[in-house]
């Protein structure tokens, strides 16, 4: 088992003829993901890599191929349009890799998706991977290993680092989800924790947070009240100065709530094991498994 994606995933790549889209479509196919279609307006009728049909619109792609998920690699100015289009076409899951979406666009996208029951991962995220089964996004397939640990994270490379260390210690992953570093994202920690809790393969979860917002605090309360699966938490940005945006648009401390110290304190208060360094995650997971 896994969460969100797996062997049943039938994926459309939105922006498949672009530089990033084509590169990662190939990596996903190599990993075994069932990429059933690509979409680029004006390029309908082509075949990508001689095998994957390209359509002008998501509606056509879904009608013709029965796709149930999409991943978006289009420039930021068009990314919210691609999300709306995927929702209207009726896929269940939309993963938006693109970064730099205006936050105003996202405020309008979110209620549209909610009304239609479409789940969004991201934007500005590395996507997700189920080791040995399916990868949607840009997480490197080489570092993962099948196993019992679910990973949910606001970061990209920091997540790779943590996965790398776990795999190095012989601890595999059930599903790794990068939820993205923007202030407004589709799927948050609590959503992912809920799915991991329901997933019978996941025996422990690593939650990788960072400064800004209060999602980590909400997640800690959720973990305590609603979960039996143990959670290990890490928060990046202990040395970040307040009021500055640390790369991710969402990583900015305003007021006392968004600091790493506060988040770690709340983790501890609610029974989430706190890893001070990334390297502390492996032993913490070994303890709870």
């Amino acid at each position: 088992m896994s969460i969100l994606i797996g062997d049943d995933t039938r994926l459309v790549v939105q922006g498949i003829t672009g530089r990033d889209g084509s590169f990662h479509a190939r990596r996903m196919r190599e990993y075994g993901t069932n990429v059933v279609a690509g979409v680029t307006p004006g390029k309908g009728g082509q075949l990508f890599d001689d095998e994957v049909p390209v359509f002008n619109t998501m509606a056509q792609a879904v009608e013709e191929t029965g796709a149930n998920a999409s991943v978006i690699y289009v420039p930021a100015a068009f990314a919210s349009g691609a999300i709306y289009e995927a929702a209207d076409a009726g896929v269940d899951l939309v993963v938006c890799i693109t970064e730099g979406l205006p936050v105003g666009d996202m405020t309008r996208v979110m209620p549209y998706l909610e009304e239609r029951g479409t789940r969004l991962i991201g934007p500005n995220c590395p996507g997700l991977i189920v080791p040995g089964s399916c990868k949607v996004g840009i997480l490197p397939g080489s570092i993962v290993e099948e196993g019992p640990v679910g990973i949910v994270s606001r970061s990209g490379t920091l997540t790779y680092e943590v996965i790398h260390q776990l795999t190095g210690a012989g601890i595999g992953q059930s599903t790794c989800v990068g939820i993205g570093g923007d202030p407004i994202i589709g799927t948050d920690f609590v959503d992912a924790l809920e799915m991991f809790e329901a997933d019978d393969r996941t025996e422990a979860v690593v939650l990788i947070g960072e400064i800004g917002g209060t999602d980590e605090q909400v997640a800690a309360r959720y973990a305590e009240e609603q979960m039996e699966t143990p959670v290990v938490g890490f928060v990046a940005g202990q040395t970040a100065p307040p009021g500055r945006t640390m790369g991710h648009a969402g990583a900015i401390i305003s007021g006392s709530e968004g600091t790493a110290e506060e988040k770690m304190r709340v983790f501890e208060e609610h029974g989430v094991s706190v890893a001070e360094r990334p390297a502390d995650i492996v032993p913490a997971i070994q303890t709870v498994l």
């Binding site: 730099g100 405020t107 490379t157 990046a236």
Partner: protein, 376 residues
């Protein structure tokens, strides 16, 4: 992106909001001339990207042109919270009957903007929130609907009981919403919104924050960027497509990915060092980006040790290795470099580095410890 009061007021006026006129200058003599033009009492206000100007002495009343010159002279060059005042705004003084607050911010926990008003204006809204929370009224805005007319009216009646004033305030709040939405702002504030003795409403101060991600559709607003107010190295980083923030330490960090960059800084601290900066070279980094990154780090005289921490995913380790080789051959480096590389094309990278006399490590903690030690 932060913009100055005088720029926010220009956006306000473009949206027909009652911001008093004003002119900006870098010169005390010109400030005096502006004051003479307006006639009567003026206010001279420091234009810097920080709050608390008033307390710091950055806002002064002047009864005549000579006083305006003196005020401008005192304020120009002043240091406010580490920022040098380079410009002042000269604007006619407005008589104040009462002060209110109106602002819009993004509420992350609800994924939508929230409109806030308070009859307690003139002070920091955070202070009001602490001392008199019942005096702040909030209206979450449905992003698909925008500020609805009745919401503007309801908020306006929180500020004024008199129907005439409430009606005028509702109009102002409606325009403030249009200014916020139309500029893709992430924050906008009128503080204070002044009621004059003859019952006019005036936006005496204006604050706006624009969404960097949306500037592509507002080239006119992008031009408002005050490059002078930016740190030189931060400007250079922005132009090179890097995310860089200068800090006080001595270990220069060059990392791919914001989360890993923060975690690296934290680890430097953990091992007893002090990070000199946050620097994310981004996803698909070319050798050129690495060169720019190294230049920016080495421009900082406090840096006594440089740490590369690269986890190759989309970023290819060999690209970074080539960048390091190129940059070090161009720049005359006299600080030690510690390199940690792992992931995509790690082997090629290690070979490139070895061939050019560099050593590279694969464990993050070891690399950070080494870099901290190297800083001495």
């Amino acid at each position: 992106m932060n913009i100055h009061e005088y720029q926010a007021k220009q956006i306000f006026r473009d949206h027909d909001l009652p911001a008093p006129p004003g002119r900006v200058t870098r010169d005390a003599d010109e400030a005096s001339e502006i004051a003479a033009d307006y006639g009567g009492r003026v206010v001279v206000k420091a234009q810097v990207h920080t709050g608390g100007r008033g307390k710091a002495g950055g806002v002064k009343l002047a009864d005549d042109p000579e006083e305006a010159r003196e005020a401008a002279d005192a304020i120009l060059g002043m240091d406010i919270k580490g920022l040098t005042v380079r410009k002042v705004l000269v604007t006619p003084a407005v008589d104040i009957e009462s002060e209110a607050y109106a602002g819009i911010v993004m509420d992350r926990s609800r994924d939508r903007p929230v409109f806030m008003v308070s009859p307690e204006g003139g002070m920091d809204i955070e202070t009001v929130a602490e001392e008199k929370p019942e005096a702040i009224f909030r209206q979450p805005i449905d992003p698909a609907y925008g500020l609805l007319p009745h919401q503007a009216t309801t908020l306006a009646y929180r500020l004024y009981d008199e129907p005439k004033l409430a009606k005028e305030a509702a109009g102002i709040l409606g325009k403030l919403w249009k200014a916020y939405r139309g500029s893709d702002a992430t924050m906008v504030e009128i503080n204070p919104l002044v009621r004059t003795p003859d019952d006019e409403l005036r936006a005496i101060d204006a604050k706006m924050n624009l969404d960097d991600n949306a500037l592509f559709r507002h080239p006119d607003l992008e031009e408002m960027r005050d490059v002078e107010a930016e740190d030189d190295s931060e400007r250079k980083a922005r132009e090179a497509g890097l995310s860089y923030i200068k800090l006080d330490g001595d270990v220069g960090c060059c990392v791919n990915g914001a989360g890993l960059a923060m975690a690296t800084m934290d680890l430097v601290k953990y091992y007893g060092g002090d990070p000199a900066n946050f620097l994310d070279i981004g996803g698909s980094s070319s050798p050129d980006k690495v060169v720019s990154a190294l230049e920016i780090i080495t421009d900082d005289p406090s840096v006594s040790s440089i740490l590369f921490n690269i986890f190759g995913g989309i970023t290819r380790c060999d690209d970074v290795a080539n960048g390091i080789v190129e940059a070090t051959s161009r720049l005359d480096l006299d600080v030690p470099i510690t390199i940690r590389l792992t992931g995509t094309n790690e082997e090629e990278a290690l070979e490139i580095l070895r061939d050019n006399g560099f050593e590279a490590m694969s464990d993050m903690d070891e690399a950070v410890q080494r870099a901290v030690e190297a800083a001495g």
